[in-house]
């Protein structure tokens, strides 16, 4: 057991790479698909070891494994998981399985290359969540870029080249600055080991002045903000989403966007608490703008995929607001909302993709009254839209509720205003999502081309049932998930308690 606990993270991390070797040997598209499915499923299975053997009481890193990599620069291979990365890793392996399933029929060209890149992307994303060495983290961070750009550029839609290059350059521009900051941090501390740097900075062993801290904070923050994407760094997202193949969109929305808030929680909040507090007001306001702006732009989109893409901008805004108001409840909500967004928005992209496979258009005006020809599809559609809206009993509600409560009670300046604006975002969200549902699913079946649409086949039902059940399960059994993240959240937020407490004390005394 010790051996497994000690190495399970590495197994999960590198299992997709073994899958790539198997894929290279596989002959024929059929075999390629099955090999990809088997390896993603196996990776998912391996990753499930983590929550089952996770010690919820501990806020630190578990399943740690370390080995020297480049001794001359003190670069190590350190991997492990804590409450923050635990579920995100499981989400990654889960959505990778879904990604293979939904590409089963839609990817006919260069199938082998597609699945190789998908598995490479999986390893890259897992690596970002598991890495506890800043250098290793950066390496994986950059690696995710390449397969994603290829997935968009080769298997995407009409404007795929533009979208792929824009995606690559935007993210690259952000991450080179982060690389600069990582090296700067190394020169200040002499190590890339995250836990050592974190405890050293907290205890004052490595002293950095507040200007340096601010610059380092910003260097990391911009890289993450582009990934989130935080308003006004969001312009790459609609392009990338619209042009990406369905599996690409699912993984992009489901996991790649999560790398941003994950990085903020882990590095920005973990390493630079003072700078985080200094900048929090501006960041929260940008997040709020994102919530409202994303929702309003989504409302007027004539293109379904763009609609979902802008809904991501809006939903990710909630997470940012929750992270930068520094409350235990809000942070829990942020983590939960990251998972929810992966499930529901992933689900939305799958739904859009299924319509596209039948009609080859994303235009909203082409659809209407789909429920009459595709009743099963319509049922799933409504379920997943409701989960995205945040209907009680479904997953989205838990996350949004925690974020509202957390923001409202956080005690930061203007907390109530923030919470109210964020809450209005829920209404906007309901507005565009229900509007979309009404125009697509309900109403007259006016377009003759839609009258012959086939309902879901077995594979599609399987995918959507899994997503739907997960949404329901996460809505009902949220404590199961949140218990495992609580201790980590508490440690992350611990650095912020004094200030928050003082502020709230002041607030309570005033009346």
């Amino acid at each position: 057991m010790d051996f497994i606990n000690h190495t399970i993270v590495s197994w999960t991390l590198f299992f997709p790479l073994i899958g790539i070797v198997a894929l290279l040997l596989a002959r024929g598209d059929r075999a390629v698909r099955w090999v990809a499915l088997v390896f993603t499923l196996a990776t998912f299975g391996l990753s499930l070891h983590l929550p089952f053997h996770f010690d919820s009481a501990s806020g630190g890193f578990q399943f740690l494994q370390r080995a020297p990599w480049i001794p001359a620069f003190h670069i190590q291979y350190i991997v492990g998981a804590d409450g923050l990365s635990l579920w995100l890793a499981v989400l990654t392996t889960f959505l990778s399985v879904i990604g293979v399933l939904i590409s089963w029929k839609s990817i006919q060209k260069n199938t082998k290359a597609f699945f190789i890149l998908l598995l490479l992307l999986e390893t890259g994303m897992l690596g970002v969540f598991f890495s506890l060495d800043l250098f290793l983290f950066y390496a994986f961070w950059e690696i995710t870029l390449v397969p994603m750009a290829f997935l968009i550029g080769i298997w995407g839609h009409e404007r795929r080249l533009y979208a792929a290059i824009k995606f690559f350059l935007y993210t690259m521009a952000g991450s080179v600055l982060m690389l600069g900051c990582i090296i700067w941090l190394y020169n200040l501390t002499g190590t890339f080991d995250f836990t050592v740097i974190k405890s050293g900075l907290a205890s004052g062993l490595f002293s950095i002045n507040s200007t340096t801290e601010l610059w380092l904070f910003l260097g990391f923050f911009i890289a993450f903000a582009i990934k989130v994407p935080l308003f006004p760094f969001h312009t790459w997202l609609p392009d990338a989403h619209v042009e990406a193949p369905t599996a690409g969109s699912v993984l992009l929305a489901g996991v790649l966007l999560k790398l941003g808030p994950y990085g903020m929680l882990r590095f920005n909040l973990g390493l630079f608490p003072h700078a985080a507090q200094r900048c929090s007001e501006v960041i929260v306001i940008l997040g709020l703008i994102g919530i409202v702006y994303g929702a309003l732009v989504a409302f007027v989109q004539p293109n379904m995929k763009k609609l979902v893409a802008y809904s991501s901008v809006s939903h990710m805004g909630f997470i940012i607001v929750a992270i930068f108001t520094f409350s235990q409840i809000g942070t829990q909500g942020a983590i939960y909302q990251m998972l929810n967004h992966g499930v529901s928005t992933g689900g939305l992209f799958i739904l859009v993709g299924m319509l596209y496979e039948r009609r080859h258009t994303f235009e909203l005006s082409e659809y209407g009254g789909i429920a009459t020809v595709m009743p099963v599809y319509a049922a799933f559609f409504v379920l997943i839209v409701m989960s995205s809206v945040g209907l009680p009993l479904l997953n989205g509600f838990v996350g949004e509720f925690l974020i509202m409560v957390g923001t409202f009670t956080s005690g930061v300046l203007h907390a109530h205003v923030y919470a109210i604006i964020a809450a209005s975002g829920v209404i906007w969200g309901a507005l565009y999502l229900l509007h979309w549902t009404r125009n697509t699913i309900w109403g007259e079946l006016a377009n003759a081309k839609n009258k012959v649409l086939k309902d879901l086949d077995g594979r599609e039902k399987l995918v959507l049932t899994t997503i739907g059940l997960l949404a329901l399960f996460m809505g009902l059994a949220s404590p199961y998930f949140l218990n495992k993240t609580a201790a980590t959240t508490a440690t992350t937020i611990a650095a912020y308690q004094p200030v928050t407490a003082a502020t709230s004390a002041r607030l309570t005394i005033r009346p």
Binding site: P71, A113, A149, R160, L161, L169, V176, L177, I183
Partner: protein
């Protein structure tokens, strides 16, 4: 009586010269179709023998021939790098030359002679000897540039390189003369030991030394195509046969950097505060001009010419960091750069076809799935040039930035970081064309994949990945070389 050790210390050069002369002898009587075929293998054997003999060289560290030549870790590092690069060029040439109808033994002899010259450049610690090495390698390269005699662009390339190159070496020589005037010696380590500011006659020659540093930088800056001495690069690189361009961008450039390290880090160490700014300006200019120039190129050779200017800029960033850190970052980056750039040129040479009509971006459209291995190799080399993790280029950049930040060159590092993001665009564009577009008209064919080319690409790929995944041993070697250089 010259001790036998002395000859062992220049054994790689002796072997290379021997094989080059042998090739000339074999080539003389050869006629018809078979010309050059045997010479290729002879040259390869010569290179491998020279590579092995570097081991012998390493076993006999020390000075040779009254302090003309010094075998230390730095010499060994550069010898391994340069001779390995030459071996790759020879392998690729065995595929490239017959395809181009240029199969002649002189090519291999000239490449070997150029390598001998570079070997003397990096091993010598005496300015006149360095100059002779520089000339040997330069003259061989001038001829190689014009190797496709009947092509007017090749001739233009050779002539341009020759005229401007001669001009640059004249500057270099002038710098040497002034340094000699200031110090009374041409030995770099004696200069360092005596301290250059005060000459034997007791006068302060600070200004003279600075002028010399500037003049020498003109000469070397030309060879490494650092801005503002980069004007010749695009034309010469485009006109020369693709493989020669690859060779030029690897070997002579690396050797010139090694010479610059020896002269500036060792002999001119005392006045580093002054010449630092020279490097600083050249680094920024090279990165910016190189990358901006490359952005809109559709000819791949021209694009890589500008890219090589930018890459020289990154190396100069490390150069400006000074000290062991800077020198070892320069060395590591050179190793990664030689592997990836040479690899990229090997692919381009192979795909260019006879007389090189297919070197434009549009010709690469749709290659990705038609020639998967070719395209995969080129993609990896380009990703490495961008600096994506798991490739040598990434660690190269990392060590460069680390050295620069360690020396508190924050502004320079930020400019370098932004430049490397900008550069991603044009490297990526080639990949985009290969995988994501179809060629207008018929797609280009790919000549048969021959064993030598396969070996050349495999070794470049192998080194790129090796430096990108397990850089430790190369890094330690570079650090040790840097320490011995500065001792």
């Amino acid at each position: 009586m010259v001790p036998a050790d002395f000859y062992l210390r220049i054994l790689p050069e002796l072997i290379l010269s021997g094989f080059a002369v042998l090739i000339m002898l074999v080539e003389g009587p050869a006629r018809g179709q078979n010309r050059g075929g045997a010479s290729g293998w002879l040259a390869l054997i010569g290179c491998l023998a020279a590579l092995v003999s570097v081991g012998t060289q390493a076993a006999h560290p020390g000075d040779a021939f009254s302090g003309l030549f010094r075998v230390d870790a730095f010499t060994i590092f550069m010898h391994v790098l340069l001779i390995a690069a030459t071996a790759v060029v020879i392998l690729a040439a065995m595929d490239y030359l017959p395809q181009q109808g240029l199969q002649r033994g002189e090519f291999y002899a000239l490449v070997l002679f150029a390598t001998v010259g570079m070997g003397f450049m990096v091993g010598s610690v005496e300015l006149i000897m360095i100059f002779i090495g520089l000339e040997i390698s330069s003259i061989a390269t001038y001829i190689l540039c014009g190797f496709r005699r009947k092509d007017k662009y090749a001739t233009e390339s050779a002539l341009k390189y020759f005229l401007l190159g001669s001009f640059a070496t004249a500057f270099f020589l002038y710098g040497i003369a002034l340094l000699y005037g200031a110090s009374g010696t041409t030995n770099l380590y004696t200069m360092a030991a005596n301290g250059l500011q005060i000459s034997p006659d007791g006068l302060n020659h600070g200004a003279l030394v600075l002028v010399a540093a500037g003049l020498i930088f003109v000469g070397l800056g030309f060879k490494i195509s650092a801005a503002p001495f980069q004007m010749w690069t695009p034309d010469v690189y485009t006109g020369a046969p693709a493989l020669v361009t690859g060779f030029m961008s690897a070997g002579p450039k690396a050797a010139a950097f090694a010479v610059a390290l020896r002269i500036y880090y060792v002999a001119l160490h005392g006045s580093s505060a002054a010449w630092f700014w020279l490097i600083w300006v050249a680094a920024i200019l090279s990165m910016c001009l190189g990358n901006l120039g490359a952005l809109y190129q559709t000819n791949l050779k021209r694009m890589l010419a500008y890219s090589s200017i930018a890459q020289a800029g990154y190396i100069l960033v490390a150069f400006a960091a000074l000290g062991v850190n800077g020198a070892s970052a320069v060395l590591f980056y050179l190793a990664a750069y030689v592997a990836m750039n040479l690899g990229a040129f090997a692919v381009i040479s192979h795909l260019a076809h006879r007389d090189e009509p297919y070197v434009n971006l549009g010709d690469y459209a749709g290659l990705g799935f038609r020639f998967p291995w070719m395209a995969f190799a080129l993609s990896i080399f380009l990703l490495s040039l961008i600096g994506v993790p798991l490739t040598g280029g990434f660690f190269g950049k990392l060590f460069v930035f680390q050295a620069a930040l360690h020396a508190h060159l924050v502004g320079l590092t930020v400019i370098a970081l932004l430049n490397s993001a900008l550069a991603a665009y044009y490297y990526l564009r080639v990949i985009v064309y290969m995988y994501m577009r179809e060629r207008e008209g018929a797609p280009i064919a790919c000549a048969r994949f021959t064993l030598p080319l396969w070996l050349a690409l495999a070794s470049c790929l192998g080194v790129t990945f090796w430096l990108g995944i397990f850089p430790s041993s190369a890094l330690d070697f570079a650090a040790k070389s840097a320490q011995q250089l500065l001792r």
